[in-house]
Structure formats: C-alpha cells, structure tokens
Subunit: 231 residues, 2 copies
Amino acid sequence: MAAHHNVVGPPVHVDQRKMMSKVFVSIGLSLDGYMAPEGMALEHWQTPDYKNWGAKWGALMSWIFNQQYFRDNLKLGPGGETGPVNDLIRRTTERIGANIMGKRMFEQGEISWPEDAPFHTPVYVLTHDKREPWIRPGGTTFYFVNDGPERALELARQAAGHRDIRISGGADAIQQYLNQGVVEELQIALAPVLFCGGRRLFENLREGVSTFRIDGILESPTATHLRYVRE
Amino acid sequence: MAAHHNVVGPPVHVDQRKMMSKVFVSIGLSLDGYMAPEGMALEHWQTPDYKNWGAKWGALMSWIFNQQYFRDNLKLGPGGETGPVNDLIRRTTERIGANIMGKRMFEQGEISWPEDAPFHTPVYVLTHDKREPWIRPGGTTFYFVNDGPERALELARQAAGHRDIRISGGADAIQQYLNQGVVEELQIALAPVLFCGGRRLFENLREGVSTFRIDGILESPTATHLRYVRE
C-alpha cells in the first residue's frame, strides 16, 4: 500500500522521522554549574559528611525526592507529589529506550541502586573493564562497552527502537557526546544551590559544538526545569 | 509625631527597612556559565573576530539589543520592544542608586560607552589606579576607589540613598562581593549559547557562601530571566 493510503497514521516519511530515536540529557545542575559536589566520589560513598557532599547532593536533588513517580521507581514508599514536575519525570522516564553512562556513574550506582535498578532498559556503560552483561530484575541490563562512545551509541540505537536514548551521566560522558554533536536535547533541573566546587557539566567543550534554543521552562520552588533543543 | 500617626505611609520602622539599599547583581550568562567569551579583552577590543568574541557576545546579549529602554539608554535610536523584558530592564535600571565595577570592566567600557555613559549614577571602580573622579554628561560619575571592595560598598551605600546598589561586573568583582556574603539578589539572563571557554561567573567562591532561593522567572525566546534572592 502506498504511503498516502496509510489511514491509521501520518504518511510513512513522517512516521519514519518520528521513529528516529532522540539522544538527550536530563540532569540536575547547581546554580554554579556543577553536576556533583566535591567529595562525591566512590571512595567517600560511605561518608557523606566528607566535604558535606551528601547534604549538597540532597539539596541539588530535593526537587525530585518527593515526586510520586520517582519514589515509586526507587521503591522509596508510597505517596509523593503528582503535579507537573511528576509528569515531567514520568514523561522523561517513559521515553527512554536505552541509557548510556560513564564508568564512574555506574560504579557509584552499583552500590547505591536497589536490586531492581531504576532504569528498566538496556544500559550501556563506557568502560575499559571487560565484563559480561549484568542482568537486574525489572528489565535493567548493564552492557559493558569497551569500544568507545560511538559504539555505545550504535548499540543503544539498536536497542532503543522507537524510544529515545538518554546520556545519563556523568559529566565526562555527557561532554563526550556533546562534543560529538549528537545530543539533541538538554533537560536541566537548575537548583538554587551553590556547590562552590565539584564536577562541572559544561567543561572541556570544543569550540563550535551544537547550538541550542530554549524549548520550554517549568518553574518550581526547588528547581527551574529548562529544556533546550539542538537547532 | 509618633510613627503610628503617620498616615501618609506605613509605620516608620517598616519604612526604614524599605529604605535600606539592596546589593544586587544583574548579568547575562551563557548556558555554560560564562559572563564573557574567551578573547573578549581590552587588547582585542578592535578585533571582535579574534576567537569570534564579538559574535559570541552579541549572541549572549541578543535579548537586550532590541529592547526599547536599552536602545534609548545607549542612544541606539528609536523603536524597540516594549514588553515584559523591557519592563524588567527599566525596573532594574531605575532601582539603581550606585554602581560598583571592576577595573577591567571600566577600562573596556571607557572606550565603548557613549560620551553620555549609560549609568546615570555614581560608579565606584575598584582599582589600584589613582585618578580624579571622571564626570560624564547625563549624571554618571566614575570614582576610583583604591581601598578595596568594602570601602567601595560603603561609598556606594552613602551615594545610593533609598535606591539599590548594583555590582555591575566583571566576574572578579561579583565573586568578591559574593564571597563577602553581601549580595542579596542575583538576576541572571541565561542565554541558550555555549561559549566553550571564557570568564566564568561562578568560580573562586568560598564554601558556605550565601544561600539563595528562586524568586521569579521570566521566559523569553532569547534568554531565561532568573531571579534569586538571598535566604
């Protein structure tokens, strides 16, 4: 049947464009531009008092902790807010067909996430470690990719199907994909906190990297949700 | 007459609080946290192609160039937009009783501002240079303060009267006042541009500097206007 006879949806050429996975980033950022405070590292994971990293991280992410969808996903118990911020978290989570993350983020998560890790998709970990896929209950499988970020993105595209690919973090991984010009959307929860040090998101970017435009803003008392799309 | 007999305004103790000058910052910021792109320095002032600083600066400030109040103030000719962004610029400008700026910002401005410099208040310049006050037409007088930022703030407070004190820039000056904990409001026009290098606003901040809360947001296509007040 010719494309224009397809009465159950838009013409096929539009359909195919819609079916392309988008590559996006969705992260919390301190007002001074940090994704993580100083001291938030594997070797201090059990001592959140170290440089006060635990409290700082908590302040950065305070916007999310009481949202129903987030609480449910991390098995933090029932209840929670169900307004527009919750809807944003839900939409962001549900659009993800595959995650990509750096080795450090994985290692920190490995000891923090519940048994039923909160991704529920394939997760491609950029690492030099050779390791068999690690299958978690609830649909999260971690694949360890030794052939660089391009290869990880290729695998993520294959796995994601019609859904999108999230570059989950950390800063290094996001910077690599930004520098390759493949990041199509940036979603930033800008929290009104000053870390005065730590791991910056926007650093090591090459000149002439993609340009973005403002796509939408959602206000909340604990973070400003900024959305940018690549032009 | 006792305060509560004052029928033309609120009681005197409220009045006095209102009369205290606020110290605030109002600046343009790139999405990656820079106030100025690399190459934007006095020695390259006549060559805006150098590291493309002119185009980058233009992109950062594009939100302001076509606003009526700004155009009028800089004598760029008639016309311009008159919506909420214009109102914001007007309110911000009209509340200022004194400006404080760093030496570098002054030196750059000295060769760029029109004869009738766009401040129309006393301006206290932090510098080691000894120099007589420089009086411009239109009410701008530059005073050169050699005794440090505290002294400049003292002088600005005396000059500002009921109005507020703007720490105009550059980054160094703002950082000094942030580190002293005296900045009560931050107004940031966050433009969706990536500079990939330059002069960062949030840097060299001491641990435990003031905490801020989100006070208001004004959306526009070319910049997101974020307002924070000290808690």
